[in-house]
């Protein structure tokens, strides 16, 4: 025993005390440098945000030199092709963003009509009703849906959903365009279900068990407990989940590029073809054009709008979810 302690002490001495001063100084210096590197890499995320904000702002300001801000924000007419040449008549009226906002809103509304109830009920089922076995079956389904690339959803919308929407509404006597907002919106809604359900699931699970037990003790059934106690308690968090869903819906690109139209119509009829901000950004930047043409710059202006809109939605949503979690921690 005493021998072992002595041996350990020897090891101790040789490693710590016998270490020359220079080596320790080098170690401290090395750690300093490494710490600096670590801190520097955490700046990259900030730099990305600043880069996004600056590049969008900068190009948008140049765009606003050619098109007045008022015409851009409140113009009812979007046809960027007309304004390629500046001397053309009516070039200033062609960059009105209102039809795009209406189209984006319409498709997002259709998507949330699908994703809201499906996501919420999935989350309620997973959090409150599902046995561990049912959960281990249902959760992967939602995770797979979340992992499918959006280009695949887009192709599916064109291949299956759009023809189905067209045929069934024609059978019902409605006039429908081949690229309807409905088809794109429904598919987008399914894509958003996992986003809503996973956050809502977390939020519902975080409601303290004591609240449920109090309700059961008063004789409430499970569904009454969920509806009258759990959901109201989880409401801010669920609001956050839905807002994140909306934010995904307005920023989603490929589904609408493939399944929604290009024509900027001012309509709220989901059977019509509408276009969205993201579709127009893709259309403006596809093909060869100079970097400085108003068309290219318009894409940045749309990007700035999109960035601001999603930023506000995300910040509110994250704040709601976080504040809610703090309340019950």
């Amino acid at each position: 025993m005493a021998q072992a302690v002595a041996a350990a002490e020897r090891v101790e001495r040789s490693s710590l005390l016998a270490a020359p001063e220079g080596r320790r100084a080098r170690q401290v210096l090395g750690e300093r440098i490494l710490l600096g590197l670590l801190a520097a890499s955490s700046l990259v995320a900030i730099l990305t945000t600043i880069g996004i904000a600056l590049s969008l702002l900068f190009e948008t300001l140049r765009f606003l030199d050619a098109v007045p801000l008022f015409d851009f924000l409140f113009g009812l007419n979007w046809s960027p092709q007309i304004a390629i040449r500046e001397d053309q008549v009516g070039s200033s009226g062609a960059f009105g963003v209102v039809p795009l906002l209406v189209g984006t809103g319409l498709i997002a509304a259709v998507a949330m009509t699908v994703a809201g109830p499906l996501g919420l009920f999935s989350a309620i089922f997973l959090a409150e009703y599902a046995s561990p076995r049912a959960r281990s079956f249902a959760k992967p389904i939602l995770e797979i849906l979340a992992g499918i690339p959006t280009v695949v959803y887009g192709f599916f919308a064109v291949l299956v959903v759009a023809p189905f929407v067209r045929d069934s509404s024609e059978a019902a006597g409605f006039e429908v365009s081949s690229e309807s907002a409905l088809a794109a919106g429904v598919v987008m809604g399914v894509m958003i279900v996992p986003i809503v359900s996973s956050i809502a699931d977390d939020v519902i699970s975080a409601v303290p068990q004591s609240l449920r037990e109090g309700a059961y003790g008063l004789g409430a059934t499970k569904s009454e407990t969920v509806r009258d106690i759990v959901l109201p308690a989880a409401l801010p968090g669920i609001g956050g989940a839905l807002l994140l869903g909306v934010s995904r819906a307005i920023g989603e690109t490929m589904i609408v590029v493939m399944a929604a139209g290009l024509s900027a119509q001012l309509t709220v009829n989901p059977l019509q073809a509408v276009t969205t901000i993201t579709v127009q950004m893709v259309a403006l930047l596809t093909g060869d054009q100079e970097f400085d043409s108003p068309k290219t710059l318009a894409a940045f202006a749309l990007g700035l709008l999109l960035f601001i809109a999603t930023l506000i939605l995300n910040l509110i949503a994250l704040m709601l979810v976080r504040r809610y979690q703090e309340r019950y921690d």
């Binding site: 710490l35 670590l38 801190a39 890499s41 955490s42 990259v44 995320a45 900030i46 990305t48 880069g51 996004i52 969008l56 900068f58 190009e59 109830p117 499906l118 919420l120 009920f121 999935s122 309620i124 089922f125 009703y129 249902a138 389904i141 939602l142 849906l145 992992g147 499918i148 690339p149 959006t150 280009v151 695949v152 192709f155 599916f156 064109v158 291949l159 299956v160 059934t221 499970k222 569904s223 009454e224 969920v226 994140l244 920023g251 690109t253 490929m254 590029v257 493939m258 993201t278 930047l285 970097f291 940045f300 990007g303 999109l306 960035f307 999603t310 930023l311 995300n314 910040l315 994250l318």
Partner: protein, 426 residues
């Protein structure tokens, strides 16, 4: 409403059936929501599988080709230059003429006949001859790819009376089939060719290679940066307003639409830094910026899951904080970090919108060999083919999706296995 003579117990008992029905309904809604999601998933996979399975086979036509020296190499020098520019199409046409001598009399018939065989037949003959010039002068049987319309006919996609074939063409095809000269073979061209305007020759090797190079760039940038940033934020950063801001910023960045990252790439990497359009390097850089927040968030969660007691024990034994992190916390968090990184890479593999923004949607035949060669990527290929008018491209699109999904399944399964295998509960 309630009968005043009823006792409260009776009121409650009377309401029970209604409440039980409401309960069952509510439970059913939950199951229905999951059921709809499952149904949609099955429909999606079924529709794409059904559409795409055909692209993995290809109709081929047997040709007894005589590699005529007077056509291919009149001077007899076997000069590779001559051999690679020789008219192999003429050889194919002559072979068809031997099978159907009557069709060679009229120019129109001759054209209609050669249309049945893909122009790729000539390219494949050239590859054979270039690999072995000794074949010249010999006669051999090759299985040449049929034209995409013929392929569609034999796969039953187009009907015989669709008007896409003349009566004579149908007659010739029937005779070829009767002679056993038509077969359906595994479509290896789909995995060994780049893109092509001819559906029967179009393959995804170029797209796979482009995706590989882009993902490589993405991983090389986002993994070290993300892990280092996460280590700093989780282990070393002081808790103050500034780090709060960084944290909010990262969470928010994870929710920024991917197309906005594409605009950043367009403005900074292409506009400001002047890098090449369509290069996997630029695509990978944009994808890296997009994946970075995910990797930071996952790494922080894995580091957070390592119990503080381990850190404290290391520090108590005299390790510096950096040593405690490098020797103990980080190794224990590695499985979680790997899992998160693979999932992040899988998402980057399927991402398309930012690549469109930086011009990675060009039609590119050559298979990229490096980071700067013009390239497409798997989702890009899906998008390009989905837009093509030829009917045969519809099945190619679905087949490319199947390949893309197969890669995603493999990546996600790896992540799941890693998690199962190495996950520790403290």
């Amino acid at each position: 409403m309630t009968d005043p003579r009823q006792s409260p117990t009776e009121t409650i008992l009377a309401s029970l059936p209604r409440r039980r029905r409401a309960e069952a309904r509510f439970h059913f809604y939950g199951i229905a929501a999951i059921g709809i999601a499952l149904g949609f998933l099955i429909l999606l996979i079924g529709a794409i599988g059904h559409q795409g399975i055909g692209a993995f086979s290809q109709t081929e036509i047997a040709l007894d080709v005589t590699l005529d020296e007077s056509v291919l190499d009149p001077s007899g020098t076997r000069d590779p230059e001559t051999l690679s520019t020789a008219n192999y199409r003429a050889v194919v046409r002559a072979t068809l003429g031997e099978i159907f001598p009557e069709a060679m009399r009229k120019r129109r018939d001759r054209r209609k006949l050669t249309e049945l065989v893909s122009i790729g037949a000539g390219f494949e003959l050239r590859e054979l001859v270039l690999a072995d010039p000794g074949l010249i002068g010999r006669t051999m049987r090759v299985w040449a790819p049929a034209d995409d319309e013929v392929d569609m006919l034999f796969k039953g996609v187009t009907a015989r009376d669709s008007g896409r074939f003349t009566g004579k063409q149908l007659e010739w095809l029937d005779r070829l089939e009767a002679e056993g000269r038509i077969r359906s073979a595994f479509n290896w061209r789909f995995f060994s060719n780049g893109d092509s305007r001819e559906p029967e020759l179009a393959g995804i090797l170029g797209a796979m290679s482009g995706s590989f190079f882009a993902l490589l760039t993405c991983l090389a940038l986002s993994f070290p940066l993300g892990v280092m940033a996460a280590i700093y934020l989780e282990e070393f950063a002081p808790r103050n307003r500034w780090t709060d801001l960084v944290e909010i910023n990262i969470n928010n960045l994870a929710a920024v639409p991917s197309i906005v990252f594409g605009l950043l790439g367009l403005a900074v990497f292409l506009g400001f830094m002047g890098l090449a359009r369509s290069a996997p390097l630029v695509g990978g850089m944009v994808l890296a910026l997009m994946t970075l927040p995910t990797i930071i968030i996952v790494t922080r969660a894995s580091l957070h899951a390592v119990p503080p007691s381990i850190r404290e024990a290391a520090i108590g034994l005299g390790a510096s904080r950096m040593q405690a992190m490098l020797h103990h916390t980080l190794p224990l968090a590695t499985p979680g970090i790997m899992t998160g990184t693979i999932i992040g890479m899988a998402r980057a593999l399927g991402e398309l919108a930012p690549l469109i923004m930086i011009g990675m949607v060009a039609f590119i035949v050559d298979v990229p060999q490096g980071l700067l060669d013009p390239a497409s990527a798997l989702p890009v290929q899906v998008y390009i083919w989905a837009d093509s008018p030829e009917r045969a491209f519809a099945e190619k699109t679905a087949a490319a999706i199947i390949v893309l999904l197969a890669f995603l399944v493999v990546m996600n399964l790896t992540a799941v296995i890693l998690r199962r295998r190495f996950e520790r509960r403290w």
